[in-house]
């Protein structure tokens, strides 16, 4: 598992208050992890802060699974 994946999963566990084993790469934030749209906004803000990346709204809208987040961050972090 990549370092990015570890950090992403830690943030998801903290923000959504879910058990770590539920946060698989295929897990959907909304369907599997119980996030609502406000949670997604907060997760995106937390990712931006943690990784120093900017996630524009159109990109954020496409992030629906844990893997989507990891892929975007790996492709865009400095």
């Amino acid at each position: 598992m990549s370092e990015t994946a570890d950090r992403v999963k830690k943030i998801v566990v903290e923000h959504l208050g879910v058990e770590a084993e539920k946060v698989t790469e295929d897990a959907s934030f909304i369907d599997d992890l119980g996030a609502d749209s406000l949670d997604i906004v907060e997760l995106v803000m937390a990712f931006e802060e943690e990784f120093g990346v900017e996630i524009p709204d159109d990109a954020a809208e496409k992030i629906s699974t844990v893997k989507d987040a990891i892929t975007f961050i790996d492709a865009n972090k400095g």
């Binding site: 406000l38 906004v41 907060e42 803000m45």
Partner: protein, 245 residues
Amino acid sequence: MFDLTGMTALVTGASGGIGSAVAKALAGQGARLALSGSNADKLEAFRAELGGDHVTLVCDLSDGAAVDGLIPRAVEALGHLDILVNNAGVTRDNLVMRMKDEEWDSVIRVNLEAAFRLVRAAAKPMMKARFGRVISITSVVGATGNPGQANYAASKGGLTAMSKALAQELASRNITVNCVAPGFIASPMTDALPEAQKEALTARIPAGKLGEGSDVGAAVAYLASREAAYVTGQTVHVNGGMAMV
């Protein structure tokens, strides 16, 4: 009760009649303020009068880009932002049939669009902090309408409805969003009215007199306080009973 010590607030239109009374009320409860307005000299004079450790931020609320920058400037100046008071407002009265596009647009831009831009920007730091108070100064005419003020009434009614939507979006993050709707409040503008007109005005008010800015300030201070945590999406009408809605 209603102690705001350690809390910070941005007040727009802070050197105006109601704005300065709101600022005094918040500062009186211990909040540290960023006072915003379009006139640097008036703002600075008011800051000096207020004393304490407050800051001024000049901003033209009809300039969208400037408005977008105001919350980041306030956060930088104050360290964090607990309270946003959307107070600034303009009027461009005219009968609907005679109202120019520009009269409509300018009132909507300052009273409604600027408030939207400010709450959009303030929501982020407030969500992170898991605390926030957004208070918009609306008007009795936002609920009742008023001839000659289609633009102003629409802007205030819009501000009220926007606040209700935002209140629902942010309630789970301990952010409350409320409005204070003044009726007729004594100001240099009402002081200048002819006596007969003043009497006609007060005849419509069960309390039998105009309100004071401090009446509005007290309502804002309450809604800003930690004690008002369970009040959101509401309007406190401060109008001496002239409209009960």
